[in-house]
Amino acid sequence: MRDVMLAAIRRNRPDPLPHPGTATPRAVEANAESRFSASAGLSMSKVIPLGAGESLGEVLTALHPDALRVTHRLTGGLADDLASAPSWKNVAEVDEHTTIAHLAEIQLAVLPAQLGVIENGACWLGERDMGHRALPFSTEHLVMVVPRSQLVETMHEAYAQLACDGAFGVFIAGPSKTADIEQSLVIGAQGPRSLAVVLV
């Protein structure tokens, strides 16, 4: 079937037309953080810039004061910061072997994002950042932590920086939503009910 299909396409395709080429990349312009916040807000995502001296653990506890089943995949200084927060003493470990039952229990996941896109407020999570591919979707609440230096203007620059690394990656712009019932916006359709992006 493959060869028959390809032969038919070869027979019927129009004369060659050129690819337009790569779009010219844009450098990051002024007020990147506030513009990123504004875009993210359109998708009901909350952006929290972390000030110098502020503790990530305190920010997250203020954001989600109720005791939740939590997990994170931060490393280095940010992980140490979290380790010192009281509500982060009991952290679930999530990786590709985590069972569906355990995934279903996670209520808050804090994941490191590689970059943020100013034109739409979306952040990129690679497979290594999530542990299990379902986690960014199955968790009740999601927080992504993005370095300020990794904000780019548009999707052109984002794709230029990202490599397809042979696994899974996703741009996430906000909490899960739908307007399928009489065009009324409902947040928290099937995936997370909330999304916060912390800029570090």
């Binding site: 004369d15 199955s138 548009t154 397809c164 899974f168 906000g174 899960s176 399928d180 019932i181």
Partner: protein, 461 residues
């Protein structure tokens, strides 16, 4: 009305409920307005459309090469690539994959291709339950209706109707119609199905040849909830979904959300590069008439479509007749130029469901010449003898009347006299189809020709 074309008949039934038609019209126009706001927010919007159009034109001119490249790059990462010449083969392939794993229930996120192939009834007849997980799709699945819009499948339904449906099928409170409450009920109901974790099917928004990546865009996250918990994931695509390069995703992801619903991007833009550890990942590439359509010089541009639905949201006919009036998997303007290619006899009426206003072409993110194709399809349809007799006679009569000035002059004079003298009951008789919802103009005291003849020597100097 017996001589009216199928769409016209179905549309007449739809507009009989004037209030509901106005509601439907306004709901869709509102989405058009959101699209405009998003598009105007990008100064380079028109250049972006042109770039997307050029990428698609280029891709179609080397479609076989890009499909082969996709197969190679995808396979190298453990993705199993299948080729289906038609709907029957697509269904057979999907069924085989599921049967081999002993799957009895599969979750499916939105895929117009699987709708086109009628996959659900095929699987159900063979003992596999299909749960459509996009909220709008689940609603119409429970109602046993086809989708009426490719992006907003339940746009034709009111929340009270959905409330009644959920009360019946999901046990929600009788009379409850709050969208938040109903969506929460659906969330819990569908979550149970995701957690079964056996098999998931999705559509494909873009398949990148350079990297062998399957890109799926959703707002709900249902495609990902299904796929990442399942042992087997299957992605179904038409041959035209392939795009050349990873960087091309930048162009299309900027256009898709804005064109479809006015969002700067869909909430989730997922890139499936390889099976998950211990899992199986399949891609089924489907022809089903597309390679033949590629050979139609006047109509091949329809294959550039990225299924955003912007043409439907803007079309005055679609807005005021609803997707079900078209009787085709893909309704609206794009459906009216693609579907006649697959079956002209069954769908010869669709190119006539249009005023040729051209709004569709204006909003199409990949610059398909939709309204021009509608016009060309009308000629194809007429030449192949599919026009009802009454319309053929009317067209021939009109041709005769309009081809001589004297005939037109006499007919015009007679019409003006009739309008002046005849009582309304006769002018607006059932035979006057034009006058059914329109007031005819007041006849002028003299025609322009008469005025000119009288005044031609009074030119201003």
């Amino acid at each position: 009305m017996a001589t009216a074309l199928p769409h016209a008949r179905a549309a007449a039934a739809f507009v009989a409920d004037e209030e509901r038609t106005t509601w439907h019209d306004q709901a869709l126009w509102h989405v058009r307005e959101k699209r405009d706001k998003a598009a105007h927010g990008i100064p380079e919007w028109e250049a972006l459309r042109q770039r997307a159009s050029d990428i698609k034109d280029h891709t179609l001119s080397r479609l076989d090469e890009y499909l082969e490249q996709f197969e190679a790059t995808a396979s190298a990462k453990g993705i199993r690539v299948h080729w289906a010449a038609d709907a029957a083969e697509h269904n057979r392939i999907v069924h085989e994959i599921l049967e081999r794993r002993g799957v009895t229930e599969v979750v499916k996120s939105k895929s117009m291709l699987t709708e086109e192939c009628h996959l659900n009834p095929y699987l159900e007849a063979r003992g596999i339950e299909v749960v459509d997980t996009d909220l709008g799709e689940r609603i119409i699945q429970l109602l046993e209706q086809p989708p009426s819009h490719i992006v907003m499948p339940a746009i034709h339904l009111k929340k009270e109707e959905i409330g009644d449906l959920f009360h019946d099928k999901l046990g929600t409170e009788a009379g409850a119609s709050d969208p938040q409450y109903l969506t929460e009920a659906a969330r819990q109901h569908l979550r149970e199905r995701f957690l079964v974790g056996k098999a998931a099917i999705t559509g494909v928004n873009f398949a990148v040849a350079e990297t062998g990546t399957v890109t799926v865009c959703t707002n709900e996250g249902n495609a990902d909830m299904g796929v990442h918990l399942a042992e087997v994931q299957i992605h179904c695509m038409g041959v035209e979904k392939v795009i050349p390069r990873w960087e091309d995703l930048g162009v299309f992801t900027r256009l898709l959300g804005r064109s479809a619903t006015g969002q700067p991007i869909t909430i989730y833009t997922s890139h499936h590069d390889a099976p998950r550890p211990g899992g199986e990942m399949h891609v089924v590439i489907v022809d089903n008439g597309r390679s033949e359509h590629l050979g139609r010089e006047d109509f091949r541009n329809g294959l550039k479509c990225i299924r955003c639905g912007a043409c439907m949201n803007t079309c005055p006919i679609y807005r005021r007749s609803g997707g079900h009036s078209y009787g085709s998997t893909i309704p609206g303007p794009i459906g009216s130029i693609l579907t006649p290619g697959f079956d002209l006899e069954a769908h010869h009426d669709l190119p006539f469901a249009s005023t040729l206003c051209g709004s569709c072409s204006d909003v199409c993110p990949v610059k398909i010449d939709i309204h021009e194709q509608l016009y060309k399809w009308r000629q194809v349809a007429t030449r192949s003898g599919h026009m009802p007799l009454a319309k053929r006679l009317a067209m021939r009569g009109g041709d005769w009347l309009l081809s001589r000035r004297t005939r037109l002059g006499l007919a015009g004079a007679a019409a003006r006299v009739a309008l002046r003298l005849l009582p309304d009951a006769l002018v607006y008789s059932p035979a006057n189809a034009w006058g059914r919802a329109r007031e005819l103009p007041q006849p002028p005291a003299e025609t322009f020709a008469e005025w000119y003849a009288a005044n031609r020597d009074n030119r201003a100097s």
